[in-house]
Symmetry: C2
Subunit: 295 residues, 2 copies
């Protein structure tokens, strides 16, 4: 029973996991998502967690990406250094069992800084492999920790992480702005105005407090506060991402509700971003790696 | 029993309160501090909370500043607009009882933004009144929400709040950096280097994630992470504060463990900051306002 009869792809993150059944023809035949991220699995509980996936999707080999390969996951898969492509990832698979392979993350050291990713590399390189992004491109991958990756010759050449998603969550859950941030975030005029402000006048940690002061003093609408705050954070993020001097095409890859916001902010910088669905890129990347497994 | 027989000054914040007995000669005779900030007092519980203060310090009139005058406090004291001085504050006292006065906060609207303070105005104007700061000065007041205030002719002319303290607390309590931020923060070389980095290369939301990646990849020492992160946040804060084009003397007012850090970061910007003890400034400002109460 090898990989040619199909397999299960798992995008296993910190708080969620998403599993896909891929049949022998490479088609995505079934899937499910649940909240059993690695933090909810006990250190010795991954065997059971995997058995549960197989009960739901079939008794197939597993190819996993994401935080499942971190030091808090099932088995640590050491980072592959930049520049990295799908061959490099496939060669560095870590086997947690005979039929359970974990894809390593990617690390970058350069420009006086260090960075890491786990999970996004499959999407980035998958998209490049099937021609969804150019071999030379600047790709933004929003999420809890947004990644700006520079592709060169189809490899991940360098990347930079921005904590935007986590900061918004922290502010929404625990800060003095919390009651103002419970509303919906929309890619509307207020969002674009906030993003533009943060793109050109960097004072994020002051602008965040001004959200509250503006509402208190009747200078801003309470119902715009979540959108405005998100615009400030994403505008600041895009300013950092575009500080790489590069004319490459910009892509934004991920969940559509996030790519829409980032594409709007990129537009405020006078650039255009092509939006890509992250799930499609993930499946493309996983399948390229599965094809490289010979046993 | 008027104010000439002495009074009690209370700096009543969100999570703490500090009460001082000032005797008839203006001397600070006794004090205590506890965790009974306004969030721990029920809406109708301020009478009891004040009775407790009097049991400890004596049956004197009370002059209060800080969040006790906010819409979550005892009685709301509407903001006084900039430019504001001690006379403006004294005229706008709000009386919660016959012998219980609340000092209003100060608001600023200008340069396309809005801002508010509650509590810091007493320290800022108190220091100016007794000559601890020049009538024209740039004063930094670190805390949960750092304030950069520009004094002109001894009045608060304008100010800007930076969320530095709250962001550090959020990161330490709830973020992916939490386990790295439990150590002591020191005004050492690592702090200065981080502050300088943030002063001249603004990418705070990326630099924060790089703290974790640097430790993971062995590029940074785990024991420096709290100091480095604080240096990034305070450096970014000082960059915002010094963006006011002004050659005025810089003062940093507050708790010594914080003023030391800010003074070090200001030094990295090639400027010099005079450190002032916030408590001394508070008592000076309170006493100036008490002198203006005629009944």
């Amino acid at each position: 029973m090898g990989w040619t009869d199909g397999y299960i792809a798992v995008d296993w993150g910190t708080t969620n996991r998403r599993a896909y059944l891929i049949d022998g023809t490479g088609k995505h035949a079934d899937e499910f998502e649940d909240g059993k991220g690695i933090l909810s699995v006990a250190p010795l509980g991954f065997g059971d967690a995997v058995a549960e996936i197989r009960r739901r999707l079939g008794d197939k080999p597993l190819l996993m990406a994401g935080m499942v390969g971190s030091n808090r996951g099932w088995r640590e898969a050491p980072y592959v250094s930049c520049p990295a492509d799908l061959d490099d990832l496939a060669k560095a698979l870590v086997w947690a069992g005979d039929r359970e392979a974990i894809i390593p993350g990617v690390s970058y050291i350069g420009e006086g800084r260090a960075d890491v990713m786990r999970g996004e590399e499959v999407q980035l390189l998958g998209a490049a492999a099937v021609g969804l992004v150019d071999p030379h491109a600047l790709v933004c991958h929003p999420g809890t920790h947004n990644k700006w990756a520079l592709l060169r010759h189809g490899k991940i050449h360098s990347f930079r992480t921005v904590m935007t998603g986590e900061l918004f969550s922290l502010l929404k859950a625990h800060s003095i702005l919390a009651d103002l941030l419970q509303g919906e975030v929309e890619a509307n005029e207020a969002f674009k105005q906030a993003a533009k402000h943060a793109l050109y006048e960097e004072a994020l940690t002051a602008d965040l407090f001004a959200v509250r002061a503006g509402v208190l003093l009747g200078q801003a609408k309470k119902e715009d506060a979540a959108t405005w705050t998100s615009g400030l954070l994403i505008g600041s993020d895009v300013r950092i991402g575009l500080s790489v001097p590069d004319g490459a095409q910009i892509h934004v890859m991920g969940r559509p509700e996030l790519t829409r916001l980032y594409a709007a902010a990129v537009g405020q910088a006078g650039r255009e971003a092509i939006e890509l669905d992250g799930e499609q890129c993930f499946l493309a990347g996983i399948h390229e790696i599965a094809k490289r497994i010979s046993h």
